[in-house]
Symmetry: C2
Subunit: 264 residues, 2 copies
DNA sequence: CGCGGGTTTGATAACTTTCAACCTACGTGG
DNA sequence: CCACGTAGGTTGAAAGTTATCAAACCCGCG
């Protein structure tokens, strides 16, 4: 586990703000980013804005940050100062209990927002770790709140983003609370498939960025169970698995695994 | 299951808004409520506001609504128009899948907010059902958003409320993903205890408003497992159980159940 | 070329569910 | 005011699912 030494940095050229950043910030670059030209905008910020409003937003999200694989964007306990939009790469968020228990609470890909957990207590309550070399937009939250008072649509959008996360969590609770191993894995694969598709990648062939252990943690299963379930899908001709490379042969067949009577 | 016939009502005397309300609204009363004099304000709205700001808020939250035990405040699919603050009583929220699976996603008591799930899609994604005769404050969301542009502190507070829900969901995911039956129940009891205490009730003696089945659904367990775990706690001298009446004898002993090595 | 992290697979154990019977409390109606 | 019906709760035994432990395997990388 990387320790949480902190360094202090300026986020961008406008000198708008400073943030505490964990160790991984050593690899920070001041990337030139701009919402106005971002091809992820439909995913990240699907609202109508005037040019003037977009300009203000560009100024706010002036800085980017690179995170190397295995390093953390923030860690539990770090002061909350910004939320992040994934530009490229892949993250996981996880929570650790004192006794060593770990729970992966989500996987985030391009266009998704990380860090919302920190708002309520001004401190992050989970770790966000890059599963591959990644880049994020840094969105200083205090400034975002200020901008919202000027841009109503933005305010409503933030609410939606927060609410969407709550709804997503509900379905994870449903998964963990009522499904058995193979159903959980099927749900997981379908979800990944759909998210890749939404980004223009193949819905049926992709690379898993996370280990079996991380999948298991997310799904409330042991890694052996994940492995067995994948093998079983493979035997059934539903998918092809080679290490982290997944090819789905029978999307419909996987969906069928989910329509059963309850059980936990 | 109550059906979802709808009736249209005016929420209050100022004619500010109308809401669609499910069947249970038949029992609606226009209650005189006011944040400025509410003794739940510390829980619900713990922020500094000027008298003028409070007056505006009072106008917004002008109407209340009574929900009889077993009836729903809203149901999945209902259009989202307001969030609700529990004034008195006790609610559960649950999600139903087509195949009959049900998952209780939370229990809400006085001072807590319900309905945040609806923001992201303009439609509620879960059912909110009263477990005893209850009253809620109806807070039309569009108007709340408007008021936020005038009151910065309110804006930030809404963000915190939404974020707090996300953090709460994280810990439920931790519970469902990593704990075994008795740990889950212990966590549940401690959580209830703490929330009752925060409202001035006894931390060690209280009445469960929900059935074993509902507890089980929330904890991802079958009702028999919940019953057995309670009996086991009882045998161990940790608690006293008589139907829905719980008396905790050894709060510390229950806490100790949680410090163990991981397992699922 | 060998090492090590990650993965697969098998056998066994542990936990939770399932099924079933029985019990308890509460509200309704005679 | 009491009897009875019913929803909710408890308990036991058996079955099923997943975890645990252990060994072997695969693959990329230094």
């Amino acid at each position: 586990m990387p320790q949480t030494k902190k360094i202090r940095i300026d986020t961008d050229q406008t000198g708008q703000n400073t943030v505490h950043a964990p160790m991984s910030a050593i690899n920070l670059n001041t990337l030139k980013v701009a919402c106005s030209h971002c091809n992820l905008r439909e995913l990240c910020l699907p609202i109508e804005l005037t040019n003037q409003e977009l300009t203000k937003l560009d100024a706010l999200v002036g800085a980017g940050r690179k995170i190397k694989r295995g390093q953390s964007l923030y860690r539990s306990g770090n002061p909350f100062e910004a939320i992040y939009a994934v530009r490229t790469g892949f993250f996981k968020t996880d929570v650790l209990l004192e006794d060593g228990r770990e729970q992966v609470t989500g996987f985030q890909m391009a266009g998704e927002i990380i860090g919302l957990d920190g708002i309520c207590s001004e401190v992050h309550t989970c770790n966000a770790i890059a599963l591959e070399d990644s880049e994020v937009c840094v969105i200083p939250f205090a400034m975002l709140e200020q901008l919202q008072t000027e841009i109503r649509a933005l305010q409503h959008h933030i609410h939606k983003v927060l609410s969407r996360e709550i709804v997503r969590d509900q379905s994870v609770m449903m998964l963990l609370g009522t499904m058995r191993a193979e159903e959980r894995l099927a749900t997981f694969l379908l979800n990944l498939s759909q998210r890749f598709a939404a980004r223009g990648y193949s819905a049926t062939e992709f690379h898993l960025r996370m280990t079996r252990d991380e999948i298991g943690s997310y799904l409330g299963l042991k890694l052996e169970t994940v492995s067995r379930a994948l093998s079983h899908f493979h035997e059934g001709g539903l998918i092809n698995v080679q290490q982290k490379h997944i090819r789905i042969h029978d999307l419909e067949g996987i969906r069928k695994l989910l329509s059963r009577q309850a059980s936990p």
